[in-house]
């Protein structure tokens, strides 16, 4: 069970004067249960790539398969949930319940099963049952986001793709979002996060894909990423690596503030730290 992309090439407005190459020979594979991050600068092709994973875009050449089914042959959208940037924009229902039911109902779920799935999705998003009959537009911006997310989860996708999910969120809401993603992942759902910012998400993920001008320039685990030499590093690993490069004896594949503190303190005063 996996999403497999082989030698994917894609251009917008093919064979017109506005033709725009967006993906160039991309190959990757994401297994069921993985938590991956796809990162790269704005305009590098991240959104274009993920739109291939649920068949919104079809490859110009190469292949995209979800659980062995080519996306251009059959509809696989019920397997792959997709949450776009500022998902609260997609709400339209007269009630929260109607909006969340939209997805699963489109995929043919009916009656009690539909009710059950909507209920479960709301639970996962910490949404109280009492708001089910409220108009989504009467909620706060943060709650609207959660409703939109519940609307995608209610279809019980095996893969959940999120495009820039943290954009515009403050620190606390970001933490809540990431803890929800971790929880979903522990239930066996693959999580694919697209973000131009690495530092927030990196500690959570199993694997990272870096994309630049439509090409994959790095694939690997967070540890491998930190050990790579020529890529942009988040601040804490950057400090550790600089210290390491200046000949000090510290581990450098560290994100955690406490760990970094411990590492440097023990270098300064080995006995005292050991006693603690």
């Amino acid at each position: 069970m996996s999403i497999d992309i082989k030698n994917l090439i894609f251009s917008y407005n093919r064979s017109t004067s506005l033709e725009k190459h967006a993906l160039n020979d991309v190959s990757l594979s994401i297994k069921k249960g993985d938590f991956v991050l796809i990162s790269g600068e704005v305009g590098s092709g991240k959104s274009t790539l993920i739109k291939h994973m649920n068949g919104l875009l079809k490859p110009c050449s190469g292949s995209v398969e979800v659980d062995g089914i080519p996306t251009h042959k059959k509809d696989i959208r019920s397997k792959v949930g997709m949450l776009f940037q500022f998902p609260q924009k997609q709400l339209f229902g007269k009630t929260v319940d109607e909006d969340i039911s939209f997805g699963p109902a489109n995929f043919g779920i009916k009656g009690n099963q539909l009710k059950k799935q909507v209920h479960e999705a709301m639970d996962l998003m910490f949404l109280d049952e009492s708001i089910a009959s409220v108009s989504p537009f009467d909620l706060s911006g943060g709650q609207m986001r959660l409703v939109a997310m519940a609307g995608v989860l209610a279809s019980k996708p095996d893969y959940l793709i999120l495009d820039e999910p943290a954009s515009g969120l403050d620190a606390k809401n970001r933490k809540i979002l990431f803890s929800i993603l971790k929880k979903l992942n522990s239930k066996g759902i693959s999580i694919i996060v697209v973000s131009h910012q690495i530092s927030d998400v990196l500690p959570l993920v199993d694997r990272l894909f870096l994309i630049d001008s439509g090409k994959i320039v790095f694939k690997g685990s967070p540890d491998e990423y930190l050990r790579s030499t020529n890529l942009y590093l988040p601040d804490i690993p950057w400090i550790m690596k600089e210290l390491h490069d200046r000949g000090f004896d510290v581990k450098f594949d560290i994100f955690d503030i406490d760990e970094a503190f411990y590492e440097v303190s023990s270098l300064l005063n080995p006995q005292k730290v050991d006693e603690q």
């Binding site: 959208r77 019920s78 776009f84 924009k89 997609q90 709400l91 339209f92 939209f102 995929f107 279809s155």
Partner: protein, 263 residues
Amino acid sequence: MTGMFFSYIPGNSLLHRLDPRSKIIGIMLASILIFRAMSVYEMLAIGVVFSILFLLSSTTVKAVYSSVYPMRIILIFIFTIHLFFTEGSSILSVFGMNISYEGLLKGSTVTLRFIYLLMFASLLTSSTPSSLITVGIERLLRPFPLKVLGISSFDLAAMMSMSLYFVPLLHGSFNDLKDAQLSRGLDMKRHPFKAMYSLTVPMIRVAFRMADDLAMSMESRCYQGVHRTSIFDLRFGRMDFLCISIFGLLSAIIFFMPVLQDF
């Protein structure tokens, strides 16, 4: 090809240097002539006027062509409608439908009129940046009492220039929204009504939001919709006067051609 459709081509030709107001007035005169033209002579005369203007501009044949070509479907449609549905002496019969001599004549005339219009418009747009066209229209409209309609010529100009930016932006938002609902399993063929509903409700909200933001940004930059100046200094110079006079004279001659022929 699509990129050249009625687009501006930078240059320094006589047409480029004219005040946009002269060119807009010129276009208006030309359209009056075009819609009045019936005979082959008038059509020819308009063709000659176009050729002169074409030579005075640095426009290319390709630019003119690419302003007319994308409209071919509509042009063919207009032509066929007239061809088949004008009564007169039949010259040919296709699929049981009669093509009359009058139909052929009328179809050609009407189609040629549209082609001329597109060609003249391409002269204007290829020699004038769209911002200057807007300013020109605003200045020409200023003396008219638009107040009765509840807007000012400034509002109208602001709306024109903003729509050039916001239409593509709204189009982009619509595509994003469509992607989002398609990802939630929306099937436009099976549930067209539901599709409409799930797309229009959020789209209206997006548009209102944008309008709100925009109004805020305009207001905080002191926009009042009353008298404002422009970064573009329009000067109606001697050249404009000369050109408009010559063009006016030419138009008058063509306009009265049918009358003159009677003598």
